[in-house]
């Protein structure tokens, strides 16, 4: 796994869209601009849609990598 200082972690592998995106948005709302959120998400729709939706909201996806059977996404909280 890539080394970044992570400020918060969220696992959205137990929910379906659009709750995946909603939970990620809510978590980012709790964080300060520039802080990094680590999100674990499933393949398929979550991986296809959540990173794009988060980017559309003004946050920056730093990386997405495979970790076991899940995906790990790092997001920097935007303005």
């Amino acid at each position: 796994m890539s080394n970044y200082k992570v400020d918060a972690t969220l696992d959205i592998t137990d929910v379906l869209c659009p709750v995946t995106f909603a939970r990620t948005l809510l978590k980012l709302e709790d964080m300060m601009v520039g802080e990094i959120l680590e999100v674990f998400l499933n393949d398929g729709e979550p991986l296809q849609k959540v990173p794009k939706s988060i980017t559309d909201e003004g946050h920056r996806v730093i990386l997405i990598e495979k970790v076991g059977d899940k995906n790990r996404m790092l997001v920097e909280r935007g303005e």
Partner: protein
Amino acid sequence: MLSGLNFTDDQVVRYSRHIILPEVGPKGQKKINNGRVLIIGGGGLGSPVAYYLTAAGVGTIGIIDDDVVDLSNLQRQILYLTNDVGKPKAVSAREKLTALNPGCQVVAYQERLKASNILQIIKDYDVVVDGTDNFGTRFLANDACVITKKPFFHGAVLRFIGQALTILPGEGPCYRCVFQTPPPPSKVQTCAQAGVLGVIPGIIGLIQATEVLKYFLGIGDLLVGELLTYNALTMEFIKTEIRKNPNCPACGVNPANYELSDYEQPVCDLNTR
């Protein structure tokens, strides 16, 4: 689990389609959750307004109606079921709305809105929705909202036609600017005489509910100074610009110690009996 905006896990799921909308988001949903709406009349207009605002998560819904459910109401008053016939509307409405969203506080007023009680009732609400079936109560509600500077979301229906207007006291014309005084009772055609297609209050009620949500969210253009009319036969929506009447006794430049008063009006038989 609670987020910083105090949503439970169930709330995140329930309101997820709102939360993911950029124009709503978590903060907008919280504004809706904190909203307090009084609906005057639990009839054809009040039913869809109440259902959708409760579903949207409005924190407090007040519904005032002194009538009981009649079989003839069920053609359009979707808050009620056949086995509700004979029950007080306000109480029956509260049962349905609480079942739909237990997180919404529903206050049932089983009484008639009058000049003597309206200020006491509306003081607990942010906005007022017009679901009344008579001109007298509509004028009374308009005037009380002007006095207390509360947004008033007007709607009315008859036959195949409906209309809606959003009144923001101090910002645009009020209902009395447009219609001035209640028509004489002899000139009023009731629903019993004229009828109404059951879906029309549904359409107009949803426009009113949409305006309420837009107001809470601070998005879009409200129907302030624009009377929207809908004709189901031609399927036309027409917006007509209306202006503040400087001589309006309620909101004009010299509202001379305007006093609330009750009006005698024929009540729509189909709505209430």
